[in-house]
């Protein structure tokens, strides 16, 4: 054992990301007295993560492949600015073992697991082998990439349809195909391979048994570089659309302390078996008998980490930095207590009334929510043009309250305060989900949103036919705005605009 001197601090951290997560990491760095270096693409010169950083350097053109995925340029900037460490955030280079290795080689600390552990657990097929080695239950299916279509047929016949094809290097629903019968396997196999190749640079796909209407439950783990590992409870992310999480919460309404302990301890065994360090998430499917099956591991900080932060009272980014500095965890498993309930909504620039098509563009109006128990991790401002080049996440709206019921009420209240104009967003979609009886009763599984969105289910927002008097204020508001807009021609009073004079009198605008 070493009796180590006080660990040296990082003086400067480069954040190799954009959007809300870059801001979230910057805030943690500032709180710890660490200088931040931002990187940005041509499309992001006016982004908040550039504005809020102490230093910021251009990477290149808008496409991610020419900017945020250019590990070589990012390392070069890290060297030039004498950054001690790189925080990759999520997405982009966060699960790229070559990049983690290049950082190690350059003597710049990658805030995440070592490349070897990332390879062992980040690849879905190798992670399934590791799960077998520690006796952790997993979905039936292959533990290696399928060598051929013939092998795919053989595995599918053995585990029986329906099956799921998945990219070994995948994430976010890319390279994933559900297959219900053998006639569809060939097309799905080829489509999954080419999609995986395009999205992840590897066409490795494997097959697993499709578990019908499971819940998605994941365990947050934290491991230091001295062999200590904790689990920080679970998150339930069953509310998904096209395999993308839409709402996440902690704790899960169906996980009791005994199940939490069994899943947590299994996750810790897996992580420790591979010498994994820093923050990570072990994902499971939970069937209706509450059997859990290992799904995959995410070797990074996750989008939904705030719900865990709120119910544990911990700051995961602070802890990531302490771990990266080589400090032992200052907490033991017995110190981890879950308190209250947290729910997160992923606010996207997409149009729920129009097939969820993306809606990049200028944010012409922004009113953000606040108040007790509301956290908004956002990367937007009024006047900003949301680029078309990256994923559509605008912000994460998170509510924390003593109970699940109150957290839902709090979110609904915050959604009423929230206005994003100029682009379409999914804010109204969250109102609908959070007002839904099945969601309130926590009757959710990964098929929940598909059922809610099925054509037979008419949206409560559409075809609204309540009496016209309810919109009185809306009509008057529109008329006042229009009268100010068209004032010179139409207003009978001598003033150019009665409206403007109000504003002037209030000293609010010229």
């Amino acid at each position: 054992m070493r009796s180590n001197p006080p660990s040296p601090a990082f003086r400067k951290i480069l954040i190799a990301n954009r959007g809300e997560i870059a801001l979230r990491i910057q805030r943690a760095c500032r709180e710890l007295g660490i200088v931040t270096v931002a990187v940005y693409s041509d499309a992001d010169r006016a982004a908040l993560h550039v504005l809020q950083s102490e230093e910021a350097y251009l990477l290149g053109p808008a496409p991610a492949a020419e900017s945020y995925l250019r590990g070589d340029l990012i390392l070069e900037i890290a060297r030039r600015t004498s950054a001690d460490a790189i925080h990759p955030g999520y997405g982009f280079l966060s699960e790229n073992a070559e990049f983690a290795e290049a950082c190690e080689f350059a003597g710049i600390k990658f805030i995440g697991p070592r490349a070897s552990a990332m390879r062992a657990l980040g690849s879905k097929t190798r992670a399934r082998q590791a799960a077998d080695a520690v006796g952790m239950p997993r979905t039936p299916g292959s533990t290696r990439a399928l060598a051929s279509l013939a092998e795919a047929y053989a595995v599918a016949d053995e585990i029986r349809y329906p099956v799921m094809l998945k990219a070994a290097a995948g994430g976010g629903g890319k390279g994933m195909r559900a297959v219900t019968c053998c006639e569809d396997l060939k097309a799905a196999f080829e489509a999954a391979q080419s999609e995986a190749q395009r999205a992840f640079g590897s066409d490795e796909v494997y097959l697993e048994k499709l578990i019908e209407s499971p819940r998605h439950i994941e365990i947050q783990v934290l491991a230091d570089e001295h062999g200590n590992c904790l689990y920080l409870g679970e998150r339930e992310c069953s509310v998904q659309r096209r395999h993308q999480k839409v709402i996440e919460e902690a704790p899960s309404a169906v996980v009791d302390s005994a199940l939490r302990q069994r899943m947590g301890e299994a996750a810790v065994r897996l992580v420790q078996s591979q010498g994994y360090t820093n923050a990570g998430t072990v994902e499971f499917l939970l069937d209706d008998q509450k059997n859990f099956y290992f799904l995959e591991m995410n070797t990074r900080l996750q989008v939904e980490h705030p719900v865990t932060e709120l119910v544990t009272g911990l700051d995961l980014v602070h802890l990531q930095i302490h771990i990266a500095l080589g400090e032992p965890l200052s907490l033991a498993q017995d110190d981890i207590h879950l308190r209250g309930h947290a729910i997160e909504c992923r606010i996207y620039a997409e149009d729920p009334a129009n097939g969820f098509i993306p809606s990049p563009g200028r944010i012409t109006r922004l009113l953000q929510p606040g108040g007790p128990g509301i956290r908004e991790d956002s990367g937007i401002y009024e006047g900003w043009v949301v680029p078309m080049d990256y994923d559509p996440m605008l912000s994460k709206l998170i509510a924390y309250a003593p109970t699940r019921e109150l957290a839902i009420a709090r979110l609904l209240r915050a959604l009423d305060e929230y206005v994003i104009g100029g682009i379409r967003t999914n804010l109204s979609f969250f109102r609908r989900i959070l007002s839904d009886d099945a969601f309130s009763a926590a009757r959710i599984d990964t098929g929940y949103l598909d059922r809610l969105l099925a054509p037979s289910q008419s949206s409560p927002d559409s075809g609204e036919s309540d009496d016209a008097s309810s919109e009185t204020a809306a009509v008057i508001g529109a008329a006042l705005f229009e009268s100010s807009r068209t004032a010179p021609a139409t207003v009978t009073q001598p003033r150019a605009s009665a409206w403007k004079s109000v504003a002037r009198r209030e000293g609010l605008r010229e």
Partner: protein, 172 residues
């Protein structure tokens, strides 16, 4: 002043008259008289007091949308596009041009980048056949021909940036 505003599918007639104080309005909405106190808190954000009820009405943008779409307000969590009566007739006229003689245009459904052209000019297409693929925010959207016909004109060029409503192809 008197305005006719179409909102939520209903045509509403509203008269505004300045009251005693500059922030007070006598309003007549579809024959119903109302006293309204209005304050612009900041550009686009309006506080209305109507018979003791407080309302926040937010205008979506300070300038009219450039793409010819309707302005909108946010009220009680709803986005409500609206239209002034005189604008409506203009809009109806606009919508009618270009649709004549069996010509159909394929317009960009969202702002994005053209990634693929699936048929060339002069080629025949079936109804619902994919014509152009555009991409935004990591999502691809295949635009399909609304009818069987011939591609009269292909305006989309791979790599080009388009905004919602741009005409990408013309089908005869």
């Amino acid at each position: 002043m008197k305005l006719e505003i179409e909102i939520q599918g209903r045509l509403r007639t509203i008269e505004l008259e300045q009251g005693a104080a500059p922030s007070q309005y006598r309003v007549n909405l579809d024959g119903q008289p109302l006293e309204v106190e209005a304050r612009l808190l900041r550009p686009g954000v309006l506080s209305l007091l109507i018979a003791g009820r407080s309302h926040r009405v937010v205008l979506e943008g300070d300038v009219l949308p450039g793409d010819g779409s309707d302005p909108a307000i946010f009220w009680e969590g709803k986005r409500l596009p609206y239209r002034l009566e005189d604008q409506r007739s203009l809009k109806t006229r606009r919508a009618h041009t270009g649709g004549a003689d069996g010509l159909k245009v394929i317009k960009a459904s969202m702002p994005g980048r053209v990634v693929r052209i699936l048929v060339g000019p002069g080629e025949t297409v079936k109804a619902n056949q994919g014509v152009v693929v555009i991409e935004a925010m990591k999502m691809q959207n295949e635009l399909k021909s609304p009818k069987a016909g011939t591609v009269l004109e292909m305006r989309a060029i791979p790599g080009d940036t388009v905004t919602a409503g741009d005409v990408l192809a013309v089908i005869n």
